[in-house]
């Protein structure tokens, strides 16, 4: 995937670039809003990572301009402003996700992956398939290698999210945000227990463990 990072803190964007390259992405940087806007117009990028506050043109204005021009490239906003109103303003301007500084690199990579992939699988599927795992979104049933797995509603949502992002790392914060729909920082890793319950349901009795823990990042569902 080609990622454009628009961020005035050059050291930060270098580090991000290295992290994203490690994760297998191709990466370019722009140091302010105007430069970023031009780069975004010229280049074919899969995801834009945009800092909100930058000299010359702030990130929100740049993204608004792009959206007006019909550019639908997924945007991940980075910001030191973490209030909900800021988040809402960022998403309203055309951002697809919002990450508050300071953040963990793993979090950034996971979210960029999620945005990049979302673009590919834009089709409306009623059945999700990841390896042996099959989820029927209408019948609300899950099978692994033909064997039905009984899931609680929340476990179903959790697995759905993991299947939609199969092969990518998803962080605990992302799960809390997207599955439980709360934006806060639990002191203990409550998500882990939910994951281990889900894991015992989908992996128990099978040779291959599909639901894997990614150290320092979160979890990944492998086919």
């Amino acid at each position: 995937m080609r990622i454009l990072i628009i961020e005035d803190d050059v050291e930060a964007s270098d580090a991000m670039c290295r992290g994203l390259s490690e994760a297998g992405h191709e990466c370019a940087t722009a140091a302010d809003g105007v430069e970023g806007l031009e780069a975004a117009r010229d280049g074919e990028y899969d995801v834009l990572v945009v800092d909100r506050m930058m000299p010359r043109m702030d990130g929100v204005t740049a993204v608004e301009t792009l959206r007006r021009e019909g550019d639908q490239t997924p945007v991940l906003f980075l910001s030191a402003l973490g209030e909900i109103e800021d988040r809402v303003a960022g998403l309203k301007a055309g951002g697809d996700d919002y990450l508050v500084k300071p953040y963990a690199l793993a979090e950034l990579v996971a979210r960029v992956d999620a945005l990049a992939r979302r673009r590919e699988t834009g089709s409306v599927n009623t059945v999700l398939r990841v390896g042996e795992l099959e989820m029927d979104l209408i019948g609300r049933t899950v099978h692994r290698a033909g064997k039905e797995i009984d899931l609680q509603p929340r476990e179903f949502q959790l697995l759905e999210f993991l299947m939609r992002h199969a092969g990518q790392s998803v962080t605990r914060t992302m799960l809390l945000e997207k599955v439980w729909e709360y934006h806060f920082d639990p002191q203990t890793n409550v998500i882990d227990v939910h994951i281990s319950r889900l894991r015992s349901k989908i992996d128990k009795g099978f040779e291959k463990a599909m639901l894997q823990t990614v150290r320092g990042a979160g979890y990944r569902l492998e086919a």
Partner: protein, 467 residues
Amino acid sequence: MRVPALLRTTSFRLTLVFLALFAAGAGALLFYIYVATAGQIIRRAEAEVTRELRTLERSYDRGGFDAVNQAVIERTLADQRYVALLLAPDGRKISGTLEVTPADPPTEVDEWVDFRIQDLAPDGRPIRRSAIGKQVRLPGGELLFVGEEIAEEQQYVMRIVRALWGAGALVLVLALVGGLLLSRRASRYMAGLTSAVTAVRNGDLQARAPLRGTHDEYDELAEGMNDMLDRIERLMGGLRHAGDAIAHDLRSPLTRLRTRLEVAMLEVEAGRGDPTAALEQALEDAEHLLKTFNAVLSISRLQAAGQAPDPVLFDAGELVSDMSELYEPFCEEKGIDYSAEIAPDLQVRGNREFLAQAVANLIDNAVKYTPEGGAVKLRARRRSSGEVEFSVTDTGPGVPEEDRGRIAQRFVRLENSRNAPGAGLGLSLVAAVAEAHGGRLDISEGPGKVGAFGPGLRAAVVIPGVA
């Protein structure tokens, strides 16, 4: 020229303005009284003179010149208020009290004339008295002048005018003195405020304006100012405390992180030690630092704002069941008997994320201090007062009563909890969230001591509910 401070005060200036207004008003009143009384006196005199003239003219009509002459002579002899003069057509005096006609020119008729009457006082001094009069020509060509003295009335008017002037002057003096006194009073009130403001400006945040206990507008202002200063001091204190707290709680993990990295580097350079393990440990430390930092930031924002950002109306019961659902497996994993009791219809107005965080922290805190085999109970209900209460009760070791007030303070972790993970910010954040919602964090004893468990702790967030 330097004006004394007292005379520069607003109240003194106001006094002067009112004084000027008052003086103008009094002057106008005086003028009006003068015009009214003096005019009245002149008009009455004129009416009397006119009547007298008519009487004399009538006697001329009836008895001719002789009758008039007779009447004038009679009137001259009788001691009465009118002066009269009868002149022959050639201007010669025939009879009367005057020697020459005051009319000017002497032949002018039917015009009012102001003149003076020369007289001798009892001590022989000549005195002149004001009078007015009028001359008419009789049908026979003779001139008849009749006048009336108005000196006494005029003196009366002058006395009134003098009295009015005196009263006006007295009022002016009183007003001036009153104004000065009022200004001094106001200045003294203001001096208290000013000295407090000056002290604060010079860095003494503890300075407060004195209250006089009179509950007037000055006291109100002083109270308002003191409240404002209290709030500023609290905020500053909060900031200072946040600074200290950040220094305290971030410095040690940062130092630890740094030391670990240094040791790891030495070990790796020496060819032993596992770089991956060291990096993982460092990452974990950084993660912990981030969490602490975010919590400190949230608390500071809530305290600085003094209210919950982006409040919305929602059912807190749903939020609590979400949190309950989130934490239940975690409790079970730890071997804790978890139960929840959530009443329906708990409408509140607030920030969903912060309240979720608060409930999560309460459960978190309870689970952290409850040993395996213990119990944690989450309850959400509406109090009879209408407030909404979220409480979490555990069967952990609890907190001695004397420490309960302290545990919600920032970064306070009691000695016996030193080894449990956590930044010591959990309950502080809960308290900050509760306060930002106009509520409070109540901490009381749990269910009591049962065997190895207890006495436990009950922590409750109470916020205003929406009916």
